[in-house]
Symmetry: D2
Subunit: 148 residues, 4 copies
């Protein structure tokens, strides 16, 4: 199987996973691109996502980053479960802002994977920087109801 | 002003904040109790909060903890903004589970506050352990539209 | 085997581990007490541990917390390896201050353990709050040269 | 003042800071390069830096990353104090390994700065990924005894 075929398979798997995730739909997160160990999602902040101060709720920003992390870490086909996450918040985000979260793999062994995610605003400002670790189980996404 | 009166004022302020937070309503998070530097919220996991594997999405668990953190850190009246969060995930949570997040202040200086939050399931199992830091601005909640 | 015997065995194991750790000796960290899933160490800050500003270097504070974490997580006999740590810093520490780091287990499954550590100064002030996750390998401490 | 002159001034300031830091000397950390918002340090692992299992102690790896973080965040001239750090550990490091830690600024406002640090082994393997936040005080490095 060529590298190209592999990337297409990973993208298909991530699309399948994203399509079956109720909370991704609840928030309205859109998958932009994906492949082995990486994924990018986008999101538009609505009034219902704000906190009492009128900024986007930290939980929404985290959910966006965590979704990119979950898709990237499950792109290989083995079920990966988030065990640890860290996130810093740099700038406030308002209603109507369009955000992008890009996850990339920085380390992956048999049982553990580490990912970094950057959340940016449409003007390029860094909104949040996320790091997450997954435990890679011996189950595959397919056994979870995946494409094959 | 007695200590008792202060606690009541802090609880009132947190109730006011929670009532004005659109995302708390979007998720259906309920305020259970609050005072100076602490807050407890509860939440019932519905289908729309699940991830593709059928567990509660990490973003939902984080949102619950982050809400308790935000309420506890704003209970003093100065506007506190989350700058850094860490969360570990211990057990999977399913549809119908009732979760509680309890935040307590472990350090507070003029400009920085640190809070720890535990998310537990109704059977007492620790679901997630959260630590968050806020930057305490010179604005008060009142200027944000608070009770006074 | 009674609970009491188990605690004594865990304490013996931790004492053995601590006695074989070159960096614990390099820094001069002292084991105070230990048992299944918990450990407490103490340390006196010397001039060689300071940073350029005259406070205790963050790396020294982390090393103290990380040592308590490593001892507590290896107290069960299976080799546990740190994979993720988070630490907040609350107050500055000076030369001559005596610090204590206390680690306790907040979650442990077959492959993952989560620990929280508090570093305090002799006046009781919270210096640092640490959270760490270990991956529990299938090797035992004994194979690493442990007591049995 | 040209950009070039500014970079030279930042490098000089970092060299000065590093030369006055007792713990950097205690560990034997070497400054490789620095400028506004970035710094790179190197370190050779000796026997005294190992843990009981024969790997480099987590506290040593953290100290290396934290040093790069401290130098990069103080390169602007305002005294920056670490308030929050996160670190993941990917591969074991042995006696004799040469490590490099590179810190870069990912966000900086008037009061807060966020830095990411990568620790790598001489074969290019990622050893640890670090994120740190500083609070930027109103004191300057000069008042701390800096170059001017």
């Amino acid at each position: 199987m060529t590298e190209h075929r592999g990337e297409a398979e990973a993208r298909e798997r991530v699309e399948y996973i994203a399509s079956r995730d109720p909370f991704i739909k609840t928030l309205g997160i859109r998958l932009v691109e994906a492949g082995f160990g990486h994924a990018r999602v986008a999101f538009t902040v609505a009034h219902k996502h704000l906190n009492f101060g009128g900024s986007c709720h930290g939980g929404v920003l985290f959910s966006l980053a965590d979704t990119a992390f979950g898709l990237a870490s499950n792109s290989h086909g083995a079920l990966a479960v988030g065990i640890d996450t860290h996130m810093t918040f740099s700038v406030a985000v308002r209603e109507g802002d369009v955000l992008t979260a890009s996850a990339k793999e920085i380390s992956r062994t048999r049982r553990l994977g580490i990912y970094r995610v950057e959340v940016t605003r449409e003007d390029g400002a860094l909104v949040a920087a996320f790091t997450g670790t997954v435990y890679i189980s011996s189950r595959t996404i397919d056994e979870q109801g995946g494409p094959r």
